[in-house]
């Protein structure tokens, strides 16, 4: 442990006192009539009354890291109950935090059951809101490990109770330990901690839908997309922006015919949007107000004699869902054909990579200042002059750095291929190892696994349009919580079938794959092909981030989904898929929609009220539901093209449960949930998600 001065954790006197506390707890549990064991406080010495030879509460320790001037004391002045309270005072802090923690040992840390949920409660007073209730878990394989942050405790002058429900305890967990962290100057007092099993009964899921109960079901819409939907963005009003530009059709380009349509899923209708430039090959991301920033695009197609290649536009536009119109903003500092687009914790946008106006690689870091609503000039933005390739998947980390997952589009042996961490502020790039076959991750897909708090990224499949091997089945998982994160090989992608039902060989996988975060915390993986713009693969599976396994054999989209295909979550919990642009130059305009198994398992939970749609960081936001729920989360609406959507994320909302009134605790860290509009889902005890409510974060 990190605390000093060291003190014996298991002195004989301690053991006796701990045993006394535990016995007393058990006696109380037995004596209280009508309470099931589920209602027992599982904490030893939660009231902090028993102290060791140094006067510090038994089963508690001083913990924390970093550089601060601070004191821990057992306060006798007006505790909440009994004679003792814990008082942590931080006089000055440069970085890090302090917390009184439950001892991570078999005697003190409460035992838990995988699959259960627990209500962690604490009485507190605090002069600072820079507090967070943090929980660790003991994993059979990994030992003690950080689990998650549950809630910020607001400033409180009088004793105040904060209760937060844990997420479902993961498999392999036998104990947890938690405490309240203070990371700003101030005084935090705590007392009367409790930890109570709050598992909701799971009703039997009666499903009469046959195969759909386990595989889900696809439906091909009876109408086509009016445009080649190469770029798709789910809008804050639930509509879907479909951008074609010239749609990879040089004839349309020559005629100046550029297309955009807005799809209205509720009515199955489309609105045509005048398109100011060839936005084919652009990058896109939602701004914090829900408008869509579009950057770059296609300035030219390559010449048949290879005298020039594709050329990138410097144009940039903002699409406003309220008016269904594009407005031009200032030009980017460099041409951008296949640029990345990542929204940062402050709402600004960083764009990297792509091809410039002369077909060469764009090495500029391009920075959109949201407050000024403009692209910074080359000199105003910090430059590393690194080439990041095309559509590099740049995922925002919880500390504001960008993780380049190694998932990209095109290129063969291109400089900069492979994973790394990029710190815009310090202009530092550090390599990250472990990604398998980094030159065959073209049109693989990377996704920040649920929940975002867990800081893990999954990269699936990929190929190489240049060397054109069979696309692979590789998956790689990285845990960005580790001090030195390195990709580890994940489970092989399940095999599918080729056209005519021919099974894939043992080494064949897919590129052009789509991964979609679902409201139950799983990742749906669908679509793809085996070779450069050829040979669709029919395979879909469900990845469970809790077990790191694929549930193979989900229903497959009857429409081929290879190059220029995308799939994304709709606010009603279904998945929509569009696009297919094989080498013969055709484009499949069909739209298909997938209903995951959870939509066949019973009634959907209803969010009957929402106290507000404007959520501040570190706040608790109240909703009412019509029955018990096990989880709530925010999912950022997708903005996807070419198997690339680095902004897709699922943010857990630890719950403060009071019957059907649920407080949803939003992280204080904007890098975990960059400002913007999110879909709020509640998950019923039957595993069925609600339809999304839209809330604005930040």
């Amino acid at each position: 442990m990190t605390s000093a001065p060291p003190r014996p954790l298991f002195s004989g006197a301690n053991r006796v006192r701990i045993a006394q506390v535990l016995v007393l707890t058990l006696v109380l549990v037995v004596l209280v009539p009508g309470r099931s064991s589920a209602g027992a406080n599982l904490l030893a010495n939660g009231g902090l009354e028993a102290v060791d030879s140094t006067g510090f509460p038994l089963c508690w320790e001083k913990s924390g890291w970093g550089d601060s001037t601070h004191t821990f004391e057992v306060s006798k002045t007006a505790p909440h109950g009994g004679a003792n309270a814990m008082k942590v005072t931080v006089a000055a802090i440069t970085n890090g935090d302090r917390k009184a923690m439950m001892l991570e040992n078999p005697s003190c840390a409460p035992n838990v059951t995988p699959g259960h949920q627990y209500d962690a409660s604490v009485w507190y007073k605090s002069t600072t809101a820079n507090t967070v209730l943090t929980i660790f878990r003991h994993d059979a394989a990994q030992g003690w490990t950080y689990w998650t942050d549950l809630a910020t405790l607001p400033v409180a002058n009088a004793w105040t109770k904060k209760t937060v429900r844990t997420p479902v305890v993961p498999p392999g967990t036998d104990q947890v330990a938690w405490g309240v962290t203070i990371y700003g100057a101030g005084t935090l007092q705590t007392d009367d901690y409790t930890f109570i099993d709050a598992t909701e009964n799971t009703p039997g899921t009666a499903c009469s839908a046959g195969a759909a109960c386990t595989k889900g079901a696809w439906q091909v819409m009876p109408f086509n997309s009016p445009v080649r939907a190469i770029h798709t963005v789910v809008l804050k009003n639930g509509d879907v922006l479909l951008v074609a530009g010239s749609g990879n059709d040089p004839d349309a380009f020559a005629q100046g015919t550029f297309k955009t349509s807005v799809y209205h899923p509720r009515t199955g209708t489309f609105t045509t949007v005048p398109t100011p430039a060839d936005l084919f090959c652009s990058g896109h991301v939602q701004l914090s107000d829900g408008r869509v920033l579009i950057m770059g695009g296609n300035k030219d197609y390559p010449a048949a004699d290879a005298s020039h290649g594709y050329k990138g536009l410097r144009d940039s536009y903002i699409f406003d869902p309220a008016t269904s119109a594009y407005t031009r903003v200032n030009d980017m500092s460099a041409g951008s054909w296949y640029p990345s687009a990542t929204v940062m914790g402050n709402g600004d946008v960083i764009s990297l990579g792509g091809l410039g106006e002369d077909s060469s690689g764009t090495v500029a870091t391009q920075y959109f200042n949201a407050a000024q609503q403009r692209w910074l000039s080359l000199g105003e933005a910090k430059q590393t002059w690194n080439f990041w390739g095309l559509y590099p998947s740049m995922i925002l980390m919880q500390d504001g750095r960008l993780f380049y997952s190694g998932s990209h589009v095109f290129g063969n042996g291109t400089p900069g291929t492979g994973a790394s961490i990029y710190n815009y502020g310090t202009e530092a790039i550090t390599p990250v190892g472990g990604l398998q076959r980094k030159d065959e991750r073209d049109q693989s897909m990377s996704v920040l696994l649920p929940p975002a708090q867990d800081q893990r990224v999954l990269t699936i499949g990929g190929g190489n349009i240049d060397s054109n091997p069979d696309a692979n089945r590789l998956t790689d998982i990285i845990d960005l919580k580790q001090a030195n994160p390195v990709y580890q090989p994940g489970p092989l992608l399940p095999s599918g079938t080729m056209t005519g039902g021919v099974p894939q060989t043992a080494t064949q996988g897919k590129m052009y794959v789509s991964t979609v975060l679902l409201p139950d915390g799983k990742v749906f993986e669908t679509g793809g092909g085996l070779h450069n713009r050829a040979d669709p693969v029919y395979e879909a599976s469900m990845f469970d981030p809790v077990t790191n396994t694929f549930n193979a054999g989900m229903a497959t989209d009857p429409v081929p989904r290879t190059y220029h295909s995308s799939a994304f979550l709709l606010p009603d919990g279904r998945v929509m898929a569009v696009g297919d642009n094989p080498g013969d130059g055709s484009f499949d305009m069909r739209i298909s929609v997938y209903s995951p198994p959870y939509l066949f398992k019973g009634a959907r939970p209803q969010i009957t009220s929402l106290t507000g749609t404007q959520w501040a960081y570190g706040s608790t936001n109240t909703i009412k539901v019509d029955g018990p729920i096990t989880r709530a989360a925010l999912i950022r609406p997708e903005a996807v093209t070419h198997s690339s959507d680095p902004n897709q994320r699922f943010v857990d909302l630890p719950m403060t449960v009071n019957g059907n009134t649920i407080g949803l605790n939003l992280t204080s860290n904007p890098n975990l949930a960059p400002p913007g509009w999110y879909m709020l889902f509640a998950l019923g005890t039957n595993g069925v998600p609600s339809v999304a409510e839209w809330v604005h974060v930040g």
Binding site: W65, D67, T94, T127, S360, Y424, Q455, N468, R533, S668
Partner: protein, 159 residues
């Protein structure tokens, strides 16, 4: 990740600390003799910098008003011992990318079409592969690298 690990990670500093005003970055001070200041009150529980001389900086960082929490950022992925990649100089020559960056040989077809630069493994006859994949009346407008226009009539695979 355990709390001991967090402490170790903190020794080399958090590379990026988010601020609401932008991407300003604070680099953790390296303890030096000049920064050693006697802190009042004395820290009672210094877990940083481990066995190095005490170098706590007593100057508090600016805190937001009570009620608005600062972002709580974890000291993850600090990459101790990992060297930064050598910074690139301001470019004097462009990064050359192939004209057919999309993997298509645009010397063939009507420009909407994509004859692959390289045919997939196991392809024994390119014309058969093209026919099977829906290519019809494939024109040859540029260099015939795939040798598909044997009769020189600028149409591929027609004899």
């Amino acid at each position: 990740m355990n709390r001991t690990r967090l402490t170790l990670a903190a020794v080399t500093g958090i590379a990026a600390i988010f601020t609401m005003t932008g991407m300003a970055v604070a680099t953790l001070r390296t303890p030096t003799a000049a920064t050693i200041v006697t802190a009042v009150p004395e820290p009672t529980d210094t877990t940083w910098p481990l066995n190095l001389p005490a170098a706590a900086d007593p100057t508090p960082t600016t805190q937001p008003p009570p009620g608005t929490p600062a972002p709580y950022v974890q000291p993850f992925a600090d990459q101790p011992g990992t060297k930064d990649l050598t910074p690139q100089p301001s470019p004097t020559t462009p990064v050359k990318m192939p004209a057919f960056a999309d993997g298509c040989n645009h010397a063939y077809g009507n420009r909407n079409q994509c004859v692959p630069l390289k045919f997939p493994p196991g392809t024994t006859d390119k014309c058969t592969w093209l026919k099977k994949h829906g290519f019809k009346n494939l024109t040859v407008q540029g260099k015939d690298n795939h040798l598909l226009d044997r009769n020189g009539n600028h149409t591929a695979c027609d004899g």
